[in-house]
Amino acid sequence: MINIDCYAYSNNLRTVHPVEKSLFAMSTMVVCLTSTTVITPLIVLAFMAGGIIIRAGIPIRVFLNLMFVPLSFLFISVLTIAFSISTNPSGFWLAQTIKGLTIGIHYPDLITAIHLFLKSLGAVSCLYFLALTTPITEIITVLHKMKVPVIITELMVLIYRFIFVFMETATTIRRAQSSRLGYVSMKSSYRSLSRLFTSLLGKVFVKSQELYNAMAARCYTGEIKVLTKKYPISFRNYILIIVFELPLILLNLLGRS
């Protein structure tokens, strides 16, 4: 989680316009989710992996680790789709019959399962592409431009910033506790942890008050107005996106009919 955040600020696609990156990731995700053949998700997966590893320069290890996160969860859900249990042993592609009950795989189910598996993985890779190449602050700006309600984008700005402030505070308190043997036994661990939460809560309260004061001191009147850095708009990128998406969309349409 924190790792993703660090790469978002220091990858080779950092200077590309955030709207272009978001557009690329989101449209590809939609294309991938609406795909009708297994080819589309495979192409998407390959392109996103290439984009993340080769273009953005994220280490392969990091990318693979991230892709493994949803894998176990996906695997379980896909297995339940692929396998079926029935008293009628006919129509199975691969089966084992025990005491009149047949456990096995129907061929169409297998295809559905594989397709679903690849579709999900492809969609996840699109999200990772966006998350690894674009800082949250810029994604929020894009949301703001898309007319997402101000209250949501402003909350996102503040929450994102304060996740890190509180994490730092919690780390400091924990370190102070550990250095005074606060976590040597089970009992003291429970006690220390509860004190950590209590004092964190107090600090949250004070910090939020201080933040409000500091913002008021800079003429805050209820709306957070900020300027974002200008990025060069690249027509080449837009054309590349179109050139990439169109064949995939056509493929989807052909597969449907």
């Binding site: 602050t137 503040l158 004061n213």
Partner: protein, 284 residues
């Protein structure tokens, strides 16, 4: 008669929990001066600054800007905050955005300036605080001193008349502390009024045109640095020490190395220049 720009008149303030943080503070800030408010921890410096900016409202007494009372209507508060900027002690509670650029642009945009002007001001503030190369980093990956400089830039970009710095050099390394002092000089040369709070007597002595000493919610003395530091009872009452320059100077005078008429040194260079070479001493 210098013009008084900001003034606290009989200010009293106690926090909701009953702490009497300010017990009758009278202080005049002159236009264009560098004023240091000197006091130990808990003396009430930060609380006083919150009053100057209209964040807290005094229980009694008032704040005057250019001779006029602050009315605490929304409009008056905004006007005051345009003129009086404050850099808080803890940069973590001042930076609200993870993006350095966004945070610095927040203040000037609130002044209703156009985007071009704001962009230019942000750029200048980045240069003045030497944070240009931090602009692409998120605030949570910056060091304390870097965050501090970004929060200073956020206030500089608003170009207020009076800039208040709460404990500005706490947490800065010597090089950046020195650069910060140079920035202050530059600001003063451009006509800004500067108020800093500190418990660092050396800093206050070399930085300021005037010093006010604060102790348990009161201003117990104010005046020119060289006069003020000669009143040792005052310094002791406020739990402060003497600047090393003055201590060294008086020791040298006491032991006869310097004639009593030697003027007080304002900088280390002054002091070193005052000390005569050894051969002179022997021949005399």
């Amino acid at each position: 008669m210098p013009e008084v720009i900001l003034e606290a008149v009989d200010l009293k303030y106690s926090y909701p929990d009953g702490t009497n943080a300010l017990r009758k503070v009278c202080l005049q800030v002159e236009k264009g001066e560098r004023l240091a408010i000197l006091g130990s921890n808990g003396a009430g410096k930060s609380t006083l600054f919150m009053q100057f900016n209209g964040i807290y409202r005094p229980n009694s007494g008032c704040i005057k800007y250019q001779g006029r009372d602050i009315t605490y209507s929304n409009k008056a508060l905004i006007e005051l905050r345009k003129k009086v900027g404050i850099v808080f002690q803890d940069p973590d509670s001042q930076l609200f955005s993870a993006s350095v650029y966004q945070d610095i642009s927040f203040g000037p945009l609130n002044l209703g300036l156009s985007e071009e002007i704001v962009a230019a001001r942000v750029k200048q503030a980045l240069i003045d605080t030497e944070t240009t190369d931090l602009v692409d980093k998120p605030t949570h990956l910056l060091s304390y001193g870097q965050k501090k400089r970004v929060s200073i830039a956020g206030v500089l970009a608003m170009e207020p008349e009076v800039i208040i710095f709460d404990e500005p050099t706490a947490g800065l390394d010597p090089r950046h502390a020195l650069e910060f002092m140079q920035l202050l000089k530059k600001l003063r040369d451009s006509g800004k009024t500067i108020i800093i709070s500190t418990h660092d007597v050396d800093l206050a002595y070399s930085f300021s045109d005037r010093i006010a000493i604060m102790c348990s919610g009161e201003i117990i003395g104010h005046g020119e640095p060289s006069e003020l530091f000669l009143q040792s009872d005052l310094i002791q009452r406020a739990d402060l020490a003497l600047p090393w320059l003055i201590e060294m100077h008086s020791e040298l005078v006491k032991k006869g190395w310097l004639p009593p008429s030697t003027p007080l040194p304002k900088t280390k260079e002054d002091l070193l220049r005052n000390i005569p070479p050894k051969s002179d001493q022997q021949s005399a």
